[in-house]
Symmetry: C2
Subunit: 342 residues, 2 copies
């Protein structure tokens, strides 16, 4: 049994005395102990693929910040990797795939499902090691990128301002896009099930590039695949779906049967509660830049958010915490939430 069940309680609709808090990218450059460890390594991928190290950085923010959950330190791009698209992480630039998806043949050649997912033993080992070291203090969140977001990287080969190559596939060859998305979805489902088997208590699906689409394309090429994943997992663990920038599809995202919906900071809370109703659990959505402000202004924003979201809310940022955020301000954020009472 976990010592701190506040996150699981909210996700399962049980009464709690205050909202839980965790922070996207809480394990990372905001922590001096992370920077020290990271500086001693050859690169980001060494950290992701070494279970002992991944477990160590996963636990750092639990010790340092006192958040209500850990999230396994990993990368959404392990999915393309296990499907057969190798990637590298270029310092200060981001991910880079030497080979990308350019044709039907490339899609057919991809491994998928359990055959692909089961290769990622370093992730499952990291989950097991983390669970052991956490000693039941807080729950552990596992995650995956959404199929559309993963497809963006597999087609573009790196980040992009417009993701116009990936989008162009939707308009030019919608059938190929669906074939690719189906293969990714089948892999993500097995991957998350293996993560649950290894010990994660919650799963979150991140659709980081939802916002480059519009309602029509989002509802055809992304939403149905997220629904499939959530439906495949929801009997095993509580689930959270986060579609960054997809305000245009909020009315449709309601239908995802996840226990919670993540929101970025551009989503206006007053409108949101009207759309989702008072009972749906919402996660987020403080602007990460609020944490550059004074301690007083951070505490004030926490109070305002609590007022607006009410119960059934998980505090978090609307995006990963920015690496140059002062650690003291992050701690103020966490402590301000822990001082709240419903």
């Amino acid at each position: 049994m976990l010592d701190n069940t506040i996150l699981l309680d909210v996700l399962q609709g049980k009464p709690v005395e205050r909202p839980p808090i965790w922070i996207m990218r809480q394990a990372g450059r905001i922590l001096p102990e992370y920077r020290a460890l990271r500086g001693s390594l050859s690169g980001f991928i060494e950290l992701v693929t070494t279970p002992d190290l991944a477990a160590e950085v996963t636990i750092q923010p639990v010790d340092r910040l006192g958040v209500d959950a850990a999230i396994i330190f990993s990368d959404i791009l392990v999915i393309p990797e296990c499907m057969g698209l190798h990637y590298e992480m270029v310092e200060k630039q981001g991910p880079y795939f030497p080979e990308t998806i350019k044709s039907e043949q490339d899609i057919i050649a991809l491994d998928t499902g359990m055959s692909a997912a089961s290769k990622l033993t370093y992730v499952f080992d990291a989950v097991q090691e983390t669970k052991k070291r956490l000693e039941n203090r807080v729950p552990l969140i596992g995650f995956s990128g959404a199929p559309w977001t993963l497809m963006c990287y597999m087609v573009e080969g790196k980040g992009s301002k417009t993701f116009s190559k990936a989008k162009s596939l939707l308009y030019k060859h919608p059938n190929l896009a669906h074939l690719l998305l189906e293969k990714i979805t089948a892999t993500v489902i097995e991957y998350l099930k293996l993560k649950v088997k290894a010990g994660v208590d919650v799963v979150q699906v991140f659709d980081s590039w939802a916002g480059v689409l519009d309602r029509t394309t989002y509802n055809e090429f992304s939403l149905p695949y997220i629904k499939q994943i959530i439906n495949a997992l929801k009997d095993d663990v509580p689930t959270i779906a986060f579609a960054k920038g997809a305000y245009f599809s909020l009315q449709d995202i309601i239908e995802i049967e996840s226990n919670a919906v993540g929101l970025d900071w551009t989503m206006d809370v007053e409108g949101i509660r009207e759309v989702f109703g008072p009972d749906r659990v919402l996660q987020g959505n403080l602007d990460p830049c609020v944490l550059y402000g004074s301690n007083e202004s951070i505490a004030q924003r926490v109070l305002e958010q609590h007022e607006l979201f009410g119960k059934n809310h998980i505090f978090n940022l609307g995006h990963g915490v920015y690496p140059d955020t002062p650690l003291d301000n992050v701690i103020t954020f966490v402590n301000s939430v822990k001082d709240l009472r419903h």
Copy 2:
């Protein structure tokens, strides 16, 4: 008198037989004649600062595409330049400012208003030269970046995924942010008035980075300055305001007294017409990636948009046309619009 007044007519609420069309970034890499001229030059800034060349590329899409308006070939960053922040354009990377705004002193040191704007003689000369060469075929649009967008570059020194330095100024030193925004606004107003004097028939204000804010910060740090600019210009020429990604403030953007409001492709047309009502002139909002599709699918999307937007609509993309868009597809887009009848 202009030969083609369809854009001005729509902006002034006069009846027209079909919607007008122009395309953001229509003068640019989609045209072989632009690429040929650009290839012969030292760089982008030579093109912007040489009135004869700027006039030549401004007219190219009128000749080649048959659009209903020209837009002066220029750059939003001439405003920081004339205020005293020099910039360079780094090939394949974008703009770069060797010096950025870091302190109150830096803001105080900036030139502003007529003193700054009047330095930009190359822009006003380009406008005059273009008007001469256009021989009254179509109207000429002049433009400026919105103060918030210009401030982003002046603080960051280059493009950014998050604009977290610029946003951090809003949270840490709101008074300094307002001081900077006021100086930019005063410069933009004089700049656009000089452009009108030189001959532009319409002005558009682009808030390219609106979407990194939220409703509260947008309504404090961006919207009031756009309103000031539009109010200062609206008795001189028709105006268009375009706040990319600012869906969260649509209810507030209505209050801008511009003749038209630009929309990016993520804004769902059905919801939009409810917000703005049937009489407000709207511009946009086709996803630029639609132009990667087949001629049939482009023509189909034009019909659908016409159905949804109805009258009081200016066809355009929801963002600048992407440089790798096939020229034939752009021509299909223009011709499909010109075949429409109200």
